[in-house]
């Protein structure tokens, strides 16, 4: 449970946490704590989402949600590292991974904090599109705050006197856009997380369509000008 104390330090004392990453203090321990905590938190939130359908969907989503975030991290981290390296960063790949893991961990903690709310709506509404959009909104809020931590961390960890600081800041912004695109496409590829009402359990749904068109269609159905069939 010492891992949870490290998570609390991220939330409570960000400056100290990022300073320790900059000085490469206990990076391995921090990484381990963040991976374990985010795995648990994502799994719990995934299970809550999948519980709207069936126990199999709950188990499947509990496994897929951590996979979604960690796979996106693996795919996107090299880009951030090499671009930063190109523009004068002296940080190691481990420091980069720990920095990105911080954002992912903050996202997972916020998702955990939203889980009781999602559970409440799961028990009190049966509208699939609403439940899906509620989850998209929750992920958007948690993700935004998570990347805010990444921006803050990148700023605190970079030496303001060094060459290319401003460029590296833009690299982080651009990387966040790429991360969001990769993450949403990964989520689309790994769907379903909620499970469509009436349809049987599926581990993965066939490819086709895209995340953004589906969200637009769901909003359309809730507002009554479009039907998702």
């Amino acid at each position: 449970m010492n891992d949870l104390a490290i998570i609390e330090t991220i939330l409570r004392n960000q400056r100290q946490f990022f300073s320790e990453i900059k000085q490469r203090v206990n990076l391995g321990q921090k990484m381990r704590a963040m991976i374990i905590a985010s795995l648990i938190f994502f799994a719990l939130h995934g299970a809550v989402m999948g519980s709207s359908h069936s126990v199999w969907q709950a188990l499947s989503s509990a496994a897929k949600l951590p996979l979604l975030f960690l796979a996106t991290l693996v795919i996107c981290s090299p880009t951030l590292y090499f671009f930063n390296l190109l523009f004068g960063s002296d940080q190691s790949p481990t420091q980069h991974v720990v920095l990105v893991l911080t954002a992912i961990t903050v996202t997972s903690v916020l998702l955990l904090s939203f889980s009781p709310i999602v559970l409440f709506f799961l028990l009190t509404t049966s509208h699939y599109q609403f439940f899906k959009l509620l989850n998209v909104a929750v992920f958007a809020i948690a993700g935004l705050i998570g990347v805010t931590f990444l921006i803050r961390g990148a700023r605190l960890m970079s030496d303001p006197e060094s060459e290319g600081t401003q460029t590296r800041r833009y690299v982080v912004y651009l990387w966040i856009v790429v991360y969001a695109f990769v993450g949403s496409q990964m989520a689309w590829a790994l769907r379903p997380f909620v499970g469509a009402p009436g349809l049987g359990f599926e581990l993965f749904r066939q490819l086709g369509g895209n995340f953004y068109a589906n969200i637009f269609a769901s909003i359309g159905e809730i507002l009554g000008f479009l039907t998702v069939r």
């Binding site: 609390e8 719990l44 559970l119 009436g198 349809l199």
Partner: protein
């Protein structure tokens, strides 16, 4: 000051632990079949079966509405619209869902007017005369579905095929 900060810090960790345990219990409770139907809460596929639930099997054209403990086939689009349903109300269910449920008589748009004994099935713009009570009952229609409309409205509607077909010229209201 140091002790106070440590205490505050442990509060956050403790809350996280409690949240994890609480969610685990809630997830288990939600997924254990506890209700009288032997299904989980919410029951499988998020469907709460109650009056007004509209369903369609994935590979079947028919749309059904749940009324008084049974699913009733909505016989045509006019009925669907007249009852105020929209496509957004239709829940797609797996094939065979209705085999496990009680299916009642079809739901049609039935109408008559005050001054006439004749009952008609309304389909789109046309009215179809039902020949007699025996036919009415045999077709599975229900008296409580019959709506009273002005005679003038019914008279203005063109006649469709009688029920059953070839029952002679349709009677006018």
């Amino acid at each position: 000051m140091g002790i106070k900060q440590t205490q505050t810090r442990s509060h956050g960790t403790r809350l996280m632990k409690q949240l994890i345990i609480g969610l685990l219990v809630a997830i288990a409770l939600v997924n254990i079949p506890l209700n009288r139907h032997g299904t989980t809460l919410p029951d499988t596929a998020s469907l709460v079966v109650r009056d007004g639930l509209v369903v369609k099997e994935e590979n079947d054209e028919g749309i059904y509405v749940y009324q008084d403990g049974q699913f009733r086939w909505i016989s045509n689009m006019a009925t669907f619209e007249a009852y105020g349903f929209v496509w957004g109300d239709v829940h797609i269910v797996g094939d065979g869902f209705l085999d496990r449920s009680k299916v009642g008589p079809p739901l049609s748009l039935l109408a008559k007017c005050d001054t006439s004994p004749h009952v008609y099935v309304l389909e789109g713009e046309t009215k179809r005369w039902i020949r007699d009570i025996e036919t009415f009952v045999a077709e599975g229609y229900r008296w409580e579905d019959v709506q009273i409309v002005p005679c003038e409205t019914l008279r203005k509607m063109p006649d469709g095929e009688t029920i059953p077909p070839n029952s002679g010229p349709p009677k006018q209201p």
